[in-house]
């Protein structure tokens, strides 16, 4: 059979590198020029390339939680502006219109060829977690009961029209955030990243021709789809169900149930979240984009380390997430923690289900939280407000072949920590401790990784917001392995050690210490000493 025009295995491989190089380079520009610690030190951002229809063709290996949700941003931008012009840039953060949670600001640009003014040849997008987007809490990460308390909500709007920045819009945006200088710097960094992406895509098309570029965009989607179908074919047909819980939603003190039933049928799968709890009062709701991202992440891991990150991965998989549930919330449910916490539990549930289908390919549960801490207040030294946000790593679940790693971020995030010295230069904060929590990993033939203890002292009165999980529940072990230890949050005030809840706001006095101890990973297999007895 003669090959179809765009099925040349050589060009396929070449274009795979070309598209991902564009996304990677955008990421370098964004990281090196941004201001928010979340972006520059912690790399909480993503850059991606889309075809002319808005399907994601390549995403740089940045943050998995953006995998499935970036395409929805582009879709929302195209729906709002079906005729984007050359030089336009659309900005958005509305979780219900292409966003994830409000701090994640996404910029979408059409890529036009020089001289072409009718149809974009492609799209590119960058998303970054900004340190503050207004709302009730410094850092915009706290337990709210309405989306509007979580910050300024921006539907898709054109920040730049044919190369001209809409200054009115920009000022309106900056007037609604606590650290406007920093926001402006970050948005400029994103604009620069998009420009680089635009230029690189233009020169790609000039070099290879539009037909080949589009042809291989499609071929790459099909390629990833083939990889996924192959994986599904390998897994035994059947339905696999697993449920797990979030500790609480930060408002009501009761666990929130998440269930997934994964049905594998030949080379296709259905992932059904029916049976998960209804949307909750506090900020733990996930929008549909987050749930899709979690599904995407799990299958992306299973198809192999170097497969392209594109929409083809999800093509043979149907996701059912009942509207109005905690995994597909309705506006204006608050969502800031859905992105960071609920997404992790969705992964735990999916892996739990798939462990039944593919026991050798799935590890025990990792810490299952990102341990979000936001600290805000008035910085006397600078005479200006400050907001600081970070997430803390923990234990990785043991695999069927080895112990879990200690003190690393897992699954839906991979953000770096902020160096103690960088933090102390920039904020009235001091890091007093960063160490592994010995013994927190689950027991087993292979042990779960250890969690972390991180103690941060405030040098000025401040407000802190915590969104952390697995403070009541524990990361599960597999095949007889024990669970990882729950996390613990403390306020240390002089000699007093005050236990803090997993989620909520704390008023801090100068000198107070927040001591966060993150969960360990689950163990795998029955421990050898127990085997004997």
């Amino acid at each position: 059979m003669p090959p179809t025009p765009y099925s040349d295995p050589i060009r396929l491989e070449v274009f795979k590198h070309l598209f991902s190089a564009v996304a990677e380079e955008m990421g370098v520009v964004l990281r090196k020029t941004s201001y928010s610690p979340n972006i520059k030190e912690r790399r909480d951002f993503s850059c991606a390339v889309f075809d002319e229809r808005g399907l994601m063709v390549a995403q740089a290996a940045h943050i998995p939680v953006h995998l499935g949700s970036m395409p929805l941003s582009v879709e929302a931008a195209i729906q709002a502006y079906p005729r984007l012009l050359p030089g336009d840039v659309v900005l958005l953060n509305d979780p219900y219109l292409g966003g994830t949670h409000l701090p994640d600001i996404t910029l979408v640009s059409p890529v036009y060829l020089p001289g072409e003014e009718h149809i974009p040849a492609a799209y590119i997008a960058s998303r970054a977690h900004h340190a503050d987007v207004g709302g009730s809490f410094p850092g915009s990460m706290g337990i709210a009961t309405e989306l509007y308390q979580e910050g300024i909500v921006i539907p898709p709007v054109r920040l730049i029209r044919q190369g001209q920045v809409d200054e009115d819009l920009f000022r309106l945006l900056l007037a609604n955030v606590r650290t406007p200088q920093e926001r402006a710097g970050d948005i400029w960094a994103q604009i620069a990243a998009n420009r680089i992406g635009e230029q690189r895509m233009q020169s790609l098309v000039q070099r290879y021709g539009l037909a080949d570029v589009h042809g291989y965009m499609r071929a790459l989607l099909e390629y990833t789809e083939r990889l996924t179908r192959r994986l599904l074919q390998e897994l035994p047909d059947g339905s696999y169900t697993f449920c797990d819980f979030l500790d609480d939603d930060g408002v009501n003190d009761r666990p929130v149930r998440i269930c997934a039933r994964v049905t594998i049928n030949g080379d296709e799968a259905i992932v059904d979240f029916s049976g998960s709890d209804a949307q909750v009062a506090g900020s733990l709701n996930a929008v549909y984009a987050i749930t899709v991202s979690a599904v995407y992440y799990v299958f992306r891991c299973l198809i192999g380390l170097d497969a392209p990150n594109n929409a083809g991965c999800l093509a043979p998989i149907r996701v059912i997430a009942p509207e109005g549930s905690v995994v597909n919330a309705r506006k204006p449910s608050p969502v800031s923690g859905g992105n960071v916490e609920t997404s992790q539990r969705i992964v735990d549930v999916l892996l739990g289900a798939l462990a039944q289908a593919a026991p050798g390919r799935v590890p025990a549960a990792s810490q299952g939280t990102m341990n979000n801490i936001t600290i805000g207040g008035w910085d006397e030294r600078r005479g200006a407000p400050f907001t600081y946000y970070e997430t803390i790593a923990g234990g990785i679940g043991a695999s069927p072949v080895a112990d879990g790693a200690s003190g690393l971020h897992s699954h839906m995030t991979n953000t770096l920590n902020t160096p103690a010295e960088a933090m102390e230069y920039a904020y009235p904060l001091r890091v007093l401790r960063l160490e592994l929590r010995q013994g927190s990993g689950g027991k087993g033939k292979y042990r779960g990784g250890e969690g972390i203890r991180r103690d941060i002292q405030v040098l000025t009165p401040a407000r802190a917001n915590l969104i952390s999980e697995r403070r009541k529940g524990q990361p599960y072990g597999l095949s007889g392995g024990g669970p990882g230890a729950s996390g613990e949050n403390y306020l240390i005030r002089g000699e007093q050690h005050i236990r803090l809840p997993g989620k909520g706001e704390v008023m801090l006095q100068a000198g107070d210490i927040l001591s966060i101890r993150t969960p360990g990973g689950g163990g795998f297999g029955i421990p050898e000493d127990e085997m004997e007895s």
Partner: protein
């Protein structure tokens, strides 16, 4: 400065009675390369000996004895590139090392920046840090960002701590306390106690006095880990050359492209981690400089070096001088001292090609290595691997009988069978598969070349591509064409370029310090802050035998817009801020005149220029092209097969001109020219290819 003057400074000799030979020695995994230079004659010899990995000094001493016997009565001065430090790190064979941190930060090296190396790997394996947990110690002390001691270090505690470290079994100790670059007092107290107990000590405030504790600790720990090994090796070598009188003076190549004296290298292992590759870049710079001079080109060098070997490829960019980075990662460990910015990818001649499950052709990163090597080596006992070298052989681009000068003929049939196997699983014939393998590996190479050029704000079209390394010549011209590069330079000394680079290298010291000052800080204040760095670097160069008046100081500063986390290095001058805006624009496509600027680090590079080796020029012969053609060979190009003239490099003379298609063969490498490429030979035997532009789209 001339090397002679170092001798004068050291020995006080007014004149030099004996003839002096300079010898560049580069120890590689397979071969140890020697380049011998006599100031009166020029480069007079270069040769290779098999390396002796068990004790690398064996091959070095063998070579020196050979040179000594061939040049009786000469005084030998050596510049040496060593992989002892690199291998100690990569093979994890360093000294048992302890770490001392500020209390609360014992797990600093283990936790690192808390990110996992591969995003989509469900089975994240625990990494093993250089220092095991039982050898990590905490000092009860705390200094703030202004250098004030919030908790002073109790001398009794320091002594007890040192006692515990000494009893732990560690031989070497890295000390990294928070903000020690602002106030090194506590680190020094601990160091004194440790040294009293006979331990080798590396202080973060000396190795890298810059903020960001993990990266500083990592750099310091690497130094502590590799230095004792390097110290033993260099000590033994020093003793041996002194005992036998083979060499009078040994200098060591550093990762920053300069040299330092052996005694200093014995204490600064981390400076030698990229010793060999740095020599290669300096050698390339030197070769390109000669070529430019020969054609009367006085513009600053703009060069991209391309060193494609069997398992990996190194690329670097020279814009006047080699680009330097402070963000290198070796064996997974951040090393933040300035080193030549060499980007390495895991693709080379031995990279293995295969069809993957989704039906794409993949090449590398797995390599067939030297054993069993490519299928055409005929060494495989079981499974054979189809490699890039096999593809080139199938395409007629390598002459099977000429490989290593005929010492190891290649098996074309085995190569064909291996490539056919890959082709079969992709539904293509052997030739198509071979062309595809070359195209895919070129895509990897092009990505690497773009990272060091386009992504750093340089337009490759303005650069010359300098190809060295065994596999480079087959790919360099096509790659240049894809990148819009118009000229490729292939030097005749390619296989010993690194050893030559060591002879051309200047004496260099780098010093830095985090100062964290506002952008409007007066230049006088910055100069004052720089003074200790000037004193330190000058003092060290003088110790190394350099006369103070021969030292050139290049002060620089790392700046960023206040609030950013990545700095750009610009020359320290009255136009500091403007230079920063420009550098930012160049690197990232925009700048912000309205934004506040922060001066993060001051840097000082102190250089003592050495006199460069003179290379003999050959006389032009102006032979016609036809008479040169040794034979023709059928070569498969993307556009089709063509009968291609084959030239022996050694037959080429200055003034010769070649017209592609052509193969220029040498025992260690082959240069491939396509149709319409033209090449000339200069007085140094360099082949200079004028690359034909693309016709239409690829």
């Amino acid at each position: 400065m001339r090397m002679d003057s170092i001798a004068e400074a050291k020995t006080g000799m007014g004149s030099i009675a004996v003839n002096r030979l300079l010898v560049g020695i580069d120890v590689g995994g397979t071969f140890t390369d020697f380049v011998v230079y006599d100031a009166g004659v020029g480069v007079c010899d270069s040769f290779k000996l098999l390396s002796t990995p068990g004790d690398p000094s064996q091959s070095v001493l063998q070579g020196l004895e050979k040179i000594q016997s061939e040049h009786p009565g000469c005084e030998i001065w050596v510049v040496h590139g060593t992989t002892v430090a690199t291998n100690a790190l990569l093979e994890r064979k360093g000294a048992p090392t302890a770490l001392v941190t500020t209390a609360g930060f014992r797990d600093l090296l283990q936790i690192g920046r808390q990110n996992r190396p591969a995003l989509y790997d469900l089975f994240v394996k625990p990494t093993s840090p250089l220092v095991e947990r039982s050898l990590c110690f905490e000092a009860e002390e705390r200094v703030d960002q202004h250098g004030e001691a919030l908790l002073a270090l109790d001398p009794v505690h320091a002594a007890n701590l040192a006692e515990r470290v000494a009893k732990s079994g560690a031989q070497s100790v890295a000390v990294c306390l928070l903000f020690s670059f602002v106030n090194p007092h506590h680190e020094r107290l601990i160091a004194a106690e440790l040294r009293k107990r006979g331990l080798s000590v590396s202080l973060s405030s000396e190795i890298l006095p810059e903020f960001r504790e993990y990266e500083r600790a990592s750099t310091t720990a690497v130094n502590a880990y590799v230095t004792p090994r390097l110290d033993v090796y260099l000590g033994r070598l020093d003793q041996a050359v002194k005992d036998k009188g083979t060499a009078r003076n040994v200098r060591i190549m550093q990762s920053n492209g300069g040299t330092m004296r052996l005694e200093r290298a014995r204490r600064h292992g981390v400076q030698c981690i990229l010793s060999g590759p740095a020599g290669g870049v300096v050698g390339a710079q030197f070769a390109a400089h000669l070529a430019a001079e020969a054609r009367g080109d006085r513009d600053p060098l703009r060069l991209i070096t391309f060193d494609m070997g069997g398992t990996s490829t190194d690329v670097a960019l020279i814009d006047g001088e080699p680009r330097v980075t402070t963000e290198s990662l070796v064996g997974g460990f951040p090393i933040r001292i300035p080193v030549i910015d060499i980007h390495t990818i895991g693709a080379g001649g031995g990279s293995i090609a295969r069809a993957d499950q989704g039906g794409a052709l993949r090449v590398g990163p797995e390599s067939a290595g030297a054993d069993p090597g490519p299928a055409c080596y005929g060494r495989a006992r079981g499974k054979t691997f189809a490699t890039v070298t096999d593809a080139n052989l199938v395409l007629g681009r390598i002459l099977a009988q000429e490989f290593l000068g005929g010492a190891m003929p290649l098996d074309v049939e085995k190569a064909k069978a291996a490539i056919a196997g890959v082709g079969k699983s992709l539904g293509m014939d052997t030739e198509q598969a071979a062309l595809g393998i070359v195209e895919v590996v070129n895509a990897h190479m092009e990505r690497a070349l773009r990272i060091i050029s386009v992504e750093r704000g340089y337009d490759p079209a303005a650069f010359t591509l300098l190809s060295f390394g065994g596999a480079g010549g087959l790919h360099a011209v096509d790659l240049a064409r894809q990148m819009g590069i118009q000229r490729v330079l292939a030097p005749p000394l390619a296989s010993t370029l690194s050893a030559l680079g060591m002879l051309a290298a200047d004496v260099v010291r780098d010093a830095s310090l985090t100062v964290m000052r506002p952008g409007d800080t007066p230049l006088e204040e910055l100069s004052r802050l720089l003074e200790p760095l000037v004193d330190q670097a000058t003092g060290e160069l003088v110790e190394d035998g350099v006369a103070p008046e021969q030292i050139i100081h290049l002060p620089q500063a790392d700046l960023r817009y206040k609030g950013q986390s990545y700095e750009l290095t610009v020359p320290l001058s009255s136009a500091l801020l403007e230079h920063f805006h420009q550098a930012h624009h160049r690197a990232y496509g925009y700048h912000r005149h309205d934004a506040e600027i922060e001066i993060v680090n001051l840097r000082l590079r102190a250089i003592a220029k050495t006199s460069k080796p003179r290379i003999r020029q050959s006389k032009a012969t102006n032979q016609t092209i036809k008479s040169l053609a040794a034979a023709t060979h059928l070569v498969r190009f993307t556009s089709g097969s063509a009968s291609t003239p084959v030239f022996r490099w050694s037959d080429l003379a200055p003034g010769d001109e070649l017209q592609g298609p052509a193969l220029v063969v040498r025992p260690d490498t082959t240069l491939l020219l396509s149709d319409r490429d033209r090449a000339g030979i200069d007085v140094y035997g360099n082949v200079i290819v004028e690359v034909a532009p693309h016709q239409g789209r690829v």
